[in-house]
């Protein structure tokens, strides 16, 4: 309950800690899913580009 009281200055009073921490985890998870998708996309494109360049230069 101490943590909840510490965050009581935020909207949602004594539940502010629980509500905002849930929404932070939500944003982090969504960001992570999109970030990983972007990274996989870049990795595959770069990997294939290097492979085709190597094949063409043989």
């Amino acid at each position: 309950m101490m943590i909840a009281e510490y965050f009581s200055f935020l909207p949602f009073g004594k539940y502010a800690f629980y509500v905002w921490s849930s929404y932070i985890i939500f944003f982090v998870t969504v960001f992570w899913l999109f970030y990983r998708t972007k990274k996989i996309h870049e990795r595959i494109f770069n990997q294939l580009r290097i492979k085709y360049d190597r094949e063409d230069n043989k």
Partner: protein, 250 residues
């Protein structure tokens, strides 16, 4: 219809069509998640029993529903891939797993955070919570098994069997609150008798439904993008992939 499905199931067509579809899922997702969060966090009234803590349901419930829906899609795709050897079905199953695991993780963590002020504990070995945790382990096991083989065909076969066996967990999650005496509350809107008369006020129901649609759009956008990349990797020896990469098209 069957012809259209067959045409769409060809990797090259899937790559092309999905590229057109992604923005149609992504932008409505951003719009709906903004509306849903604003409505859920600021417009919806305070619950007379739970106070503001109930606002966690606007992410917890859609995440929990999606965790089951994505598993169902994953298992059906895995089954189609296993029986009819359709490459695209295996791709959908494979790329759905990490997204479904993300939703399951979100459902478990937000449920735990809601449980602390409401139940007085972060976790109980309740049938609903335990079966949802098993779902997370099933996703992780599927991903591990899929990456454990060098041969993609063997990997798809082994992980598909696991996905199909794991489908038994879905009715257990859904009916756990009916079959056992659980601390987790029963269905408020998802059971057939509750659809006509939901036990939740419209001011709280609408943002919840908007968030559910937003989560579905997010899944669609992510699965299409990840599916496109998986197809490029699998079809790397095909001429069209080489032309596409060399042409610098994304």
């Amino acid at each position: 219809m069957w012809k259209w499905i067959q045409a769409f199931a060809s990797p090259q067509n899937f790559y092309r069509i999905s590229g057109t579809l992604i923005p149609w899922f992504l932008y409505p997702f951003v719009l709906l998640v903004t509306i849903g969060l604003y409505w859920g966090l600021y417009v919806a009234p305070i619950d007379y029993q739970q106070g503001d803590s109930y606002r966690i349901i606007f992410i917890h419930v859609p995440a929990a529903w999606m965790s089951m829906l994505v598993y169902l899609i994953m298992a059906i795709s895995a089954g189609i891939g296993l029986i009819w050897q359709i490459k695209l079905a295996n791709v959908v199953a494979k790329v759905s797993a990490p997204i479904g695991a993300g939703f399951t993780f979100l459902a478990l963590v937000t449920g735990s955070i809601w449980g602390k002020p409401m139940w007085g504990t972060w976790w109980v070995w309740d049938a609903r919570l335990t079966s949802e945790l098993i779902l997370l382990f099933l996703y992780l096991a599927y991903m591990s098994l899929n990456n454990a083989f060098d041969n993609p065909k063997k990997a798809a076969k082994a992980s598909s069997i696991l996905a199909l066996v794991g489908i038994i967990n879905l009715p257990i999650i859904h009916y756990s609150v009916k079959w056992w005496n659980t601390l987790h509350q029963g269905a408020s809107i998802s059971s057939m008798d509750k659809i006509a008369a939901p036990a939740i006020h419209p001011d709280m129901l609408w943002p919840l439904l908007i968030m559910v649609v937003a989560f579905q759009l997010m899944y669609a956008a992510l699965v299409l993008q990840r599916g496109r990349d998986e197809i490029l990797f699998n079809e790397q020896n095909m001429r069209w992939v080489k032309d596409l990469i060399k042409g610098g098209e994304r």
